[in-house]
Assembly symmetry: C2
């Protein structure tokens, strides 16, 4: 079987990890890499992906030219979380005839949040006879696909609650910084205001679930709140004083026919003492499913994108979502 | 939206429950019912399904004539667990141009256990431009689809273990009888010999998982053992003496490249004290997912078959499996 030829477009931390994962899997040929950052252009992908050897493939800045020359089967697109910004890149890739698998959170289910862009991408993908999918661990799995799959055995579903609870106590410093550990409430609110402290995708996950459940969401909420220390908290040799921030809780709520049918709770903070992912389907039968210790997000997002490539190559042309392609599984 | 026109073919306990579920969902028109049992022919489906009212649709014995007259969109086929026996019925339904959704365990993934029949059904379904799917809670969900979906976030998978553990202590008498509670070991072995005491589908589930993981299973085992009381056990006013049977443990093992990569454990016995379903993916990241109290099998199988109907109507023509159609979710 010939290898699937892939280009990695966007070589930040996630794109670099994708290079590593795709190389290790052994069923892919990494045919090119694209990034506009001057410290990356010209570098060998082996160095970018930490492969411990050169690949002979170097990062290029002109995506269009590279794609026209290489004509890959699929492009892994990891440049941004924002739909408006990724649209021209998706179009550039589709014009070359390649399928797109992206980590862009807002592209996971843009049909309700930005139907115009969704329709444009869908139409172009159909014209070029390829599929586009955005996925990852969340959105793409924990708070949308997995709850949907769980409801498959239900006669009725009243409402769904999903928890992703991550104890930041023993996590890396960058993770702690990202979720606001140790800052004061004013800075927390500033960061929320500037959108530098938030998880992107709760709204997309809710719309993805609703689309399959037949729920017409009349209203969604996405609420970001600080988790505040109610006493001094000792963390890795420093003290987070009472009243300061231990982390973040972000809650998505979806309402249909006047009822709250969806509750997605993402909490990442020091001092929780327990990490887990949990899906509660209030239905017949009821489903209460817990993943012990939770799913490691760093590995999971890249693994999901990689594992999705064959499914996307087999999918119906157009803008696809995790809710309408075949189940993505690990393969070797 | 016009209702999906469905015929229920086979009106035993599962088929009768399907009539009930399809009626309650409200998006289906139950256009006909087929069974050859003389105590069912001529009865109103409302009586069969316990709907508390007549539907005006009565059970008929001639499937072919009914299908040719009614031309349903889909047929729910619940006549047998055995592939050889269901094949002519599947063909009869396909000839009428309807899609098939069946509870037949051996039809969930017959590509390895009986590739000849799988190919025949696949070819006919493609010729008639409709899809065929068999599903349920197990096989169809717990021990195949759900573990596959869980691996979607894994970079690597070494092996997978699935447990379906059901405490029979407080279950209905028919369930206790089915799993051998209270009989002696000789009778247990006789029933296993006669194939009246067994769960059908472990082998199919293993082949379904392997097909997507890229595992070439060189060998599978399906082992049925009694769970034996090691002391006198008091159950609902009677005593099961030491040495007698408390229930059954059935274990599926799948081997690839000399390693045991799949272990499916189905245990149903009195005195377990805890029911649960659990999936353990030994991979990167590791996944340890537990459904508290387990999934109620009676409801779940019928719900899954019903929920799968729209997905089957949208699926690629041919013999499909849960591993290659869009995720099945509850809908209203």
């Amino acid at each position: 079987m010939s290898k699937t030829r892939v280009v990695v477009y966007g070589l930040g931390p996630i794109g670099a990890k994708m290079v590593n994962f795709l190389h290790e899997r052994g069923t892919f040929e990494i045919a090119g890499g694209v990034d506009i950052a001057s410290d990356k252009v010209g570098k060998d992908l082996g160095e970018i992906g930490g492969l411990g050897k050169k690949t002979g493939v170097v990062v290029e800045s002109n995506g269009r030219a590279l794609l026209e020359r290489i004509k890959p089967d699929a492009v892994v697109l990891t440049t941004t979380s924002i739909l408006e910004r990724i649209k021209p890149q998706v179009e550039e890739i589709l014009e070359s005839g390649a399928a797109v698998v992206s980590t862009c959170e807002e592209l996971t289910f843009p049909w309700k949040t930005n139907p115009g862009i969704a329709r444009d991408i869908d139409a172009l993908a159909k014209r070029k006879n390829v599929a586009v999918l955005a996925t990852g661990v969340n959105p793409g799995f924990l708070m949308d696909l997995l709850p949907l799959v769980a409801t498959g055995v239900c006669k009725k579903v009243e409402d769904i609650t999903v928890y992703r609870i991550q104890d930041a106590t023993s996590r890396r410093i960058p993770f702690q910084k990202k979720v606001g550990v140790g800052i004061d409430v004013k800075e927390f609110n500033d960061r929320v205001e500037k959108k530098t402290l938030r998880h992107v995708g709760l709204t997309e996950s809710m719309h993805m679930i609703a689309s399959r459940m037949g729920w017409d969401l009349e209203r969604t909420q996405d609420i970001i709140e600080p988790v505040i220390a109610d006493e001094n908290f000792s963390l890795q040799g420093r003290t987070i004083e009472k009243g300061y921030v231990l982390g973040v809780q972000q809650t998505g709520k979806g309402f249909a026919a006047g009822r709250q049918v969806l509750t997605l709770v993402f909490k990442a903070a020091a001092g929780i003492n327990e990490s887990y992912d949990r899906i509660v389907v209030n239905g017949l039968p009821p489903i209460d499913m817990t993943i012990k210790n939770g799913v490691n997000g760093d590995i999971a997002t890249c693994a999901m994108v990689m594992n999705a490539i064959p499914a996307v190559l087999r999918a119906k042309p157009g803008l696809r979502t995790m809710a309408d392609i075949e189940p993505v599984a690990c393969f070797s």
